[in-house]
Structure formats: structure tokens, C-alpha cells
């Protein structure tokens, strides 16, 4: 079972269920402390949203299963934070 402290996911979802339902469903999972869902783009039938999940520990498989049950597709994992503490990304010269 893979666990994480923070996940940032790029999701494609139908208009229904709405983002509140998505946020509430994931926030209700064991280990999840909080969820943020931001609408990135709305098309005719679908929406692209960015979901940030924080917790200790987040069961990644359970999050995926919940999102799939709600009808969402995970396009990409934009950020994953695992381990004993939350580590923020470091600035590099390229930034």
C-alpha cells in the first residue's frame, strides 16, 4: 500500500458530480486531513481540475479508487510528497 503526505493531481471529470462532492468524498477518506480542488478548465462535457490532498498518511490507492468511482480520470500526478515530514520543492537555478 503506497502512502503519501501530499498529492497534487490533475483530473478530468464530468460536470456532475460537482467539485464540492469530489472534495468532500476525498476529504472523508481515512488519513486525509484536507482537500483543495481548483477548477482549471471547463469544456462542454468535462472539467479539468487540480486536486491537492494532504494527510498523514494518505492511502494513494484509496484516493484513486474514490476518484474513479466518482467518474474522474487521473491525467497526471503533479506532485507527491512522501516520508516522515513534508518537504517543499527547492528553487534551482533553472527556476
Amino acid at each position: 500500500m503506497v502512502t503519501a503526505r501530499r498529492l497534487v493531481l490533475d483530473l478530468l471529470k464530468p460536470h456532475e458530480p460537482d467539485v464540492v462532492t469530489f472534495a468532500d468524498a476525498v476529504a472523508g477518506l481515512d488519513g486525509v486531513d484536507g482537500v483543495n480542488v481548483v477548477l482549471v478548465e471547463t469544456d462542454k462535457e468535462v472539467q479539468t481540475v487540480k486536486m491537492t490532498v494532504e494527510g498523514d498518511p494518505i492511502r494513494v490507492d484509496t484516493v484513486y479508487e474514490t476518484l474513479e468511482d466518482l467518474g474522474a480520470a487521473v491525467h497526471s500526478i503533479d506532485e507527491a510528497v512522501c516520508g516522515e515530514r513534508v518537504v517543499e520543492q527547492s528553487d534551482t537555478p533553472q527556476d
Binding site: 471529470k13 462542454k44 462535457e45 468511482d69 466518482l70 467518474g71 480520470a73
Partner: protein, 193 residues
């Protein structure tokens, strides 16, 4: 059974499910009430002697319209909701079978079909009740008139209900709906057969 009921109640919380169910309920209830007016006036004019026979005919009409309401909406909504799901699946390039969205559609379809069936049953059975009192409390003529009155009252209530959700004047909307019942009764009296 309880989880099934819970699913139906959950489906009914959605505004679009309420809206579609309301349309089917009122539309088929309207059909039922007008059918009952036709049946009762027609039965009176053709000289059916006892109220129980008219009531039995009415029950037959209620079963027919109720079944029609459930069956047709079940099939209509199956097609509509499958098409809707297919559009979303095409846009998402994924299969949504077994997801919550598909389960919600099934629940919505069941609620729509149920409400579509209840409408005509109420619309037909309530106006038939006066015929149960024929012979003891009412004459055939009085039972027929009371039955038409009940049907018009049902139509009036439908109109008032529609007015409450659309900010119309309730008495105007009610009268407009009720008028249809009176019109059917008058047409039955005037037209041959």
C-alpha cells in the same frame, strides 16, 4: 430494500431529477385526470347502471396508464441517459460503467419512472372514488358530477403546484388546468358517441 430506497431518495435530491420527475408526474397525471373524465361521462351517457362497474373500468384505465407511464419513461430515460453517459465517456476517453455517475443515472431513471406511473394512478383513481358510493349515498348522475369535480380539482391542484414553482398567479394557473377537465366533459356531452 432500504439501501434501494435510500438511493431513490438521494436521486430525488438532485434538481434535474426533481424537474424531470415533476414533468412526467404532472403530464401523466393530467392524462389520467382527463381520461377519468372521459370514462365517467362516457359511462354515464351510455347508461351504465352501477357505480362499481364504472369504478372497475376506471381501475383498468389506471393500470393501463400507470404501466404506460412507468414503462415508456423507463425506456425513454434509459436511452437518454445512455446517450448522455456516452457523450461524457467520449469526452473523457474512459468507461464510466460502474461509477457513481452511472449509479446516479440508474437511480434517477427509477425515480422518473416511478413518478411517471404515480401521476396517472392518482389522476384516475381519485375521481373514481365517488362511484363507490353510488347506490348508497349518491345517484349515478351525482357520482358522475362529483367525479368530474374531483378530476377538475386534481387538475386545479396541478396548476397551483406549477404556479408555485414558476411564480405565476396560482388561481390563474389552477383555473387554466381545471378548465381542461370541464372542456373534456363538455366535449363528451356534445360529440356523438
Amino acid at each position: 430494500m432500504r439501501s434501494h430506497l435510500r438511493r431513490l431518495l438521494r436521486a430525488l435530491e438532485h434538481e434535474d431529477v426533481q424537474s424531470i420527475s415533476r414533468r412526467y408526474f404532472i403530464s401523466n397525471g393530467f392524462d389520467g385526470a382527463l381520461t377519468s373524465v372521459g370514462v365517467t361521462v362516457g359511462a354515464y351517457l351510455t347508461g351504465i347502471a352501477d357505480g362499481l362497474t364504472v369504478f372497475s373500468i376506471g381501475i383498468g384505465a389506471a393500470i393501463g396508464l400507470g404501466t404506460s407511464g412507468v414503462w415508456s419513461v423507463w425506456e425513454i430515460e434509459r436511452a437518454e441517459k445512455r446517450a448522455e453517459l456516452a457523450r461524457v465517456e467520449d469526452a473523457m476517453l474512459t468507461d464510466l460503467d460502474g461509477t457513481r455517475i452511472q449509479r446516479q443515472q440508474t437511480g434517477a431513471r427509477q425515480v422518473n419512472a416511478l413518478m411517471s406511473g404515480i401521476g396517472p394512478i392518482i389522476g384516475v383513481i381519485l375521481p373514481m372514488i365517488p362511484f363507490l358510493a353510488e347506490g348508497s349515498l349518491l345517484s349515478m348522475r351525482a357520482a358522475t358530477m362529483l367525479s368530474v369535480g374531483v378530476a377538475v380539482a386534481i387538475l386545479f391542484v396541478f396548476g397551483v403546484y406549477l404556479a408555485t414553482i414558476s411564480e405565476q398567479r396560482w388561481f390563474v394557473a389552477g383555473a387554466r388546468m381545471g378548465l381542461a377537465g370541464l372542456l373534456v366533459a363538455v366535449l363528451n356531452l356534445l360529440l356523438p358517441g
